[in-house]
Structure formats: structure tokens, C-alpha cells
Symmetry: C2
Subunit: 357 residues, 2 copies
């Protein structure tokens, strides 16, 4: 019996082993067979179920196939597989206002409590009034005065905790969902698909790096070290107990928008992306920089043309103009000329959010 087993195993290409190893091998062979089935299943998985068939989905699939097939002329070495994603308007909703701006507005009462004199100055006075119409009419540059005040002056750990607390309770005004639910399901699928093919997915956002790092792992599967964003300085010092602390300063270090995106990518990653995804004029330079590399480079840009399920804004293609997430006709024309793929939310996405629309 022993001999028979050994000889059949020898025929199966398995080297002879001692009794202890044999038991391990049994378990591992079982595990291997399961893995084999999983691998076969993975190859057949529809990674993009929320995408409609069409040019956008095909462009993604073709890019992944040609850059991961070692026999392809466009093969990209695994360590060079970098994909960068804008966040606001590309991965989650940016209307009617950036989520981070809502966070800053919600922080105003606490800021005024710490510094009562603020209550007499704009834009804090208007924000405190709670008059939504008046707040909506504040000029953007006036409104943005709140941002450095709301995002600095505390230890980095205290800031992270405040953001976590806010995310747990705040709800958006249209769907009454947590902001972290307002991610676009097709883009989350796309990130997973790229990662399953060896791509490192980075977020490259004009939003706050420290802000986005709090939830990027949970909602996108992107770890803190792969979040590049607008960043203020921090200052190293010592607390009352003599322990080292890092305090967030109101001084801008990296403005990760427009030309700041490729500059930030060079600073933080040191490699040119092979794929980049955006939705507005703030992403133009990142998409240009990506496309200008050699070999296969995928640039895609989301067009918000779906007022029913999300929002419709441009002003490209005759869509309503917008101060937030502006997608100009000139940008649309550059996309056509430079070979970027425009993603029509209306036509290319079968489903927009995990929760429904």
C-alpha cells in the first residue's frame, strides 16, 4: 500500500517525502486545488459589473490586458504600474459643495468657541447664522478663509479623530447618506480591477491629504501612503508631558491641484503614472503628464451628464456651467485631441452608487 501510494505520487511529479511532510502536502494540495479554481474564476470575473458595454469599458480592459501580458509590446513592469485618481467628482460626489468644505463649515461653531472674536468677522458670521441661502452666496475665496482655520492648530491625531467623528454623523443634503457612501461604484470597481492586475492605486486630490487619508483605506482600499493631496505643514514639538507631537500648521506646503498634481506626483511617488483619472480642469496637467510618458498610458475623464442619478455640469457639451468641478469645452477638446477617454456618467455607468441610483 505504502509502495503503491509512493509510486503513484512519483508519477504525479511529487518528490518523495517523509511522513510528516506528507500530511502537510495533503493539506497544501487541497489548498492549491482551491486556489486554482479561484484563479480560474478570477480570470473570468466581471470586474466592472456597474459599467455598460462601450468605448470606456473597452478602453480600460484593453489597457489592462496589453500592459500585463508579458508577450505584449506594451507590457509594463509590475513596479511601474501606477494609477492615479483624482477624488472630488472622480471617485465621489463634489456637489453641491466639496465634502471637506462642509466639514470645515461644520467646524465653525467649535472654532468660534475657541476664539469668540471670529463671530464678528466674515465669513464666520454668515456661517454661524445657519442661513443656507446666505452661506451658498458667499464668494468662494471668502468661504475658503475658513479652511486653514478649520484644518490646523491641533495635533494630527486629534484632527484624524475629529474627521472620523464627523464622518460617522454627517449626512449629505440630497440622499441623506454618509459622505463615505457617495462614492461612485464603477470607479471603486475600476480601482479593484487595476489592483488585481498589479497596479498600485493612488489618490491625487486637490482636497486635504490628511483629511482623505482618514477614510481612503476604508472606502477605496487605498492606504495613507498612497494618498497625495493638498498638504499644510506640520510642526514637530513636545507636549506638556515631554512627548513628541506633530501639530498641523496653517501654512500651505503642497497645493495639489492643476500643475501641482504632476509636481505632487513627482514629489510623493517619483514615477509617472501609466493611468490617470480625473473630471475637471484641476486634473488637466495630471492627464497630460500621464499621456506624455512612453508606451501605453491611459487617461480618462468623467463627464457629469446625469442630472437624474447625480448631477449635470460642464460647461462642456452644453452642460450647465459650474464653479466646482469645472469641465470646460476646451478641456473636452483637449481630451479628444490627446486621446483621453471621456466617461459619460449617463451612458457608461449602469449603476452610480452602491446604495442605488
Amino acid at each position: 500500500m505504502r509502495t503503491g501510494k509512493q509510486s503513484s505520487r512519483r508519477r504525479a511529479g511529487v518528490p518523495l517525502m517523509r511522513r510528516g511532510d506528507r500530511r502537510t502536502l495533503k493539506t497544501l494540495s487541497g489548498a492549491l486545488a482551491s486556489l486554482l479554481l479561484i484563479a480560474q474564476a478570477a480570470a473570468q470575473t466581471n470586474w466592472l459589473p456597474s459599467w455598460n458595454e462601450g468605448a470606456a469599458k473597452q478602453a480600460v480592459q484593453k489597457f489592462v490586458q496589453s500592459t500585463t501580458d508579458p508577450a505584449s509590446a506594451q507590457f509594463v513592469a509590475p513596479e511601474e504600474r501606477v494609477a492615479t485618481f483624482d477624488q472630488d467628482g472622480t471617485l465621489w460626489v463634489e456637489k453641491p459643495m466639496y465634502s471637506q468644505v462642509v466639514y470645515c463649515l461644520d467646524r465653525v461653531p467649535a472654532l468660534v468657541k475657541e476664539n469668540p472674536a471670529l463671530a464678528q468677522t466674515e465669513p464666520f458670521r454668515t456661517v454661524l447664522s445657519g442661513n443656507r441661502a446666505a452661506i451658498a452666496h458667499l464668494p468662494t475665496d471668502e468661504l475658503l478663509k475658513i479652511v486653514p482655520a478649520a484644518l490646523s492648530g491641533m495635533r494630527v491625531e486629534a484632527f484624524q479623530q475629529e474627521v472620523r467623528d464627523w464622518l460617522a454623523k454627517a449626512r449629505d443634503p440630497r440622499w441623506h447618506r454618509h459622505y463615505t457612501e457617495l462614492t461612485y461604484l464603477p470607479m471603486v470597481e475600476l480601482m479593484k480591477y487595476l489592483r488585481a492586475n498589479g497596479y498600485k492605486t493612488y489618490i491625487v486630490t486637490g482636497g486635504g491629504q490628511d483629511f482623505v487619508r482618514v477614510f481612503a483605506q476604508q472606502i477605496y482600499g487605498v492606504p495613507p501612503e498612497q494618498v497625495v493631496g493638498t498638504a499644510g505643514e506640520t510642526k514637530y514639538s513636545y507636549g506638556n508631558d515631554g512627548k513628541p507631537i506633530l501639530v498641523k500648521e496653517p501654512k500651505l506646503l503642497l497645493n495639489d491641484d492643476k500643475a501641482g498634481k504632476p509636481e505632487g506626483i513627482h514629489m510623493m511617488i517619483g514615477r509617472r503614472p501609466h493611468a490617470a483619472f480625473g473630471n475637471s480642469t484641476g486634473d488637466r496637467e495630471m492627464l497630460e503628464y500621464t499621456r506624455a510618458g512612453g508606451g501605453a498610458r491611459l487617461a480618462m475623464i468623467v463627464l457629469h451628464d446625469d442630472a437624474k442619478r447625480e448631477y449635470a455640469y460642464g460647461p462642456a457639451q452644453g452642460l450647465p456651467d459650474s464653479q466646482v468641478g469645472t469641465f470646460t469645452q476646451a478641456l473636452y477638446d483637449e481630451a479628444q485631441k490627446d486621446g483621453w477617454v471621456v466617461i459619460s456618467m449617463k451612458n457608461d455607468w449602469r449603476q452610480v452608487f452602491a446604495f442605488a441610483p
Copy 2:
């Protein structure tokens, strides 16, 4: 015969398969058996053959064991396993002068060719003279005027090529080796040991980020995105052909030294290291910051007390004072008090370089 094979395979826990799958499984079973042997070998590998037995080696081994054993109270989740390494004096030789300063000096003739007026100004005039004694006597802050001039004004790709060309030909004055050969073998072993245990190894250097990124993968196995260093701004613009370019600017963005190290770590990684390695006052804040985290945190500091095989400098422990890589007695005392492990080059390292001493 077929039936016998199937039944023995069924006993081995392998599900029945079709003929095509069977062949794949044969190959994979062979590969699996090999992997099993490799895994067993890895567990028994002496990862630190260039270390002498002693407190330093034991501290490393104990740290790795306790943070990677899921049953340990000090277990660290794989994604939190971050180890940061200073470069100059910790991973490679920094004497008699930082390699990057030598690079900058070697660039002076090219700089003067581009801008002949420089030849009449200090420190360029002295450097051009080739008088080694006079160059050695230039005050450090005078000498450092060359650095921004040597490291900016060109496209990032052109800079990378210049560094590669320089590394291929430049030799150090003592061992007449390429600078990339002057890495400390025990530290390279330590990085591999940590990586084999799920740690992400980062370089956190006061040296230039773009400079170190050129060779970090090749000599340390550290990819560009895991090099944090002193960084100047880059400027995004368009070349004569209309293609996007990034040009290195002479403006400092991140001074990754002293307090700048934990600040840079927060900016670039967004996680507090569980292990950090340095050798001078420039690493103090990084080591403090690392130790101040909860759970197991390893801080180690290299003491250059080996004039025979490398260099001896402090002034800690009565060693000669040094402007480069200063290790003060106060730092030594802090190491003792805060539980950092001092690595004595003389006593803890069996071999210093791969090439010999």
C-alpha cells in the same frame, strides 16, 4: 490504472479533475513542493550573517519576532509595519564628505560652462582650482551654496541621467570604489530581514530625494516611492515640442533633517514608524517620534567607533568631533534614557562592506 490513480489521488484530498486540469496540477504540485522547501529554508535562514552576536542583533531579532507573531501582545498588523532608515552614515559612508556634496562639486565645471560668470565668485572659484586642501577648508555654509545650483535648472529626467552617469564613473578617495559600493552590509541585511517579515522599508534622508531615488532600488531594494528626502520644488511647464516637462527649481520644499524628518514622514507616509535607524543628531527627532508610538517600537543608532575598518567620530564616548554626522554625548545619553539601541560598528559588525573591511 486510471482508476487506481484517481483513487489514490482522492485519498490525497485532491478533487477529481478533467485531463487538462490534471496536467496543470502536476506542474503546480511540483512547484508547491519546492516552495515548501524554500519556506522551510527561509525560516531557518541566518538573515544577519555580518552581525556579531550581542545586544544589537538580539534587539532586532526580538523586535521582529514579537511584532510578527500573531499570538504576541506586541503584534503589529502588516500594513502598519513601517521601518525608516537615515541614509548618510546609517546605510552608507558619509566621510570625508557626503557623496552628494562630491557630486555637486564634480558638477561645478559644467555649471561654469553654462554660466561663465560663476568662475569669479566663491565658492566656485576655489572648487574650480582643484586645490583639495583649499576646498576642504571652505566653510560648510559657503560650500552648500553650490548645492541648489548643482541640483536645479534641468528636467527631472536629465538630472537622473546625470546622477547615473556620475555614479558609473566616480570613485571614493579611500577605497577607490564606486560610491554605491560603500553601503554597510549589515544594514542591507537588516533591511532584507525586515522586508522578509512584512516591513516596508523607507529611506528618510537629509540628502536629496531625487538624488537617492536614482540608486535606492538597486543598492537597497527600496523603490522611489519609499524614499523620503530633502526636496526642492519642481515646475510643470511645456517644452519646445509642446510636451509637458517637470523642471527642478532651486526652491526648498522639504528640509528632511532633524524635526523635518518626522514632519516628512507624516507628509510622505502618513504612518508612524515601528522601527527607525539613524546615526546622528539629524536623526534625533525621527527616533524620538518612533519611540513615542504605542506598542513595540525599535530605535537604533549607529556609532562610528571603527577607524580601522571605516571611521571613528562622535564626539560621543570620547570619539573625535565631527561636523558631518555629529553624534553628541547628549544624544548618546538620550539613547540610553529613551531605550534606543546603540550599534557599535566595531563590536556589532563582523563585516562592514560587501567588498571587504
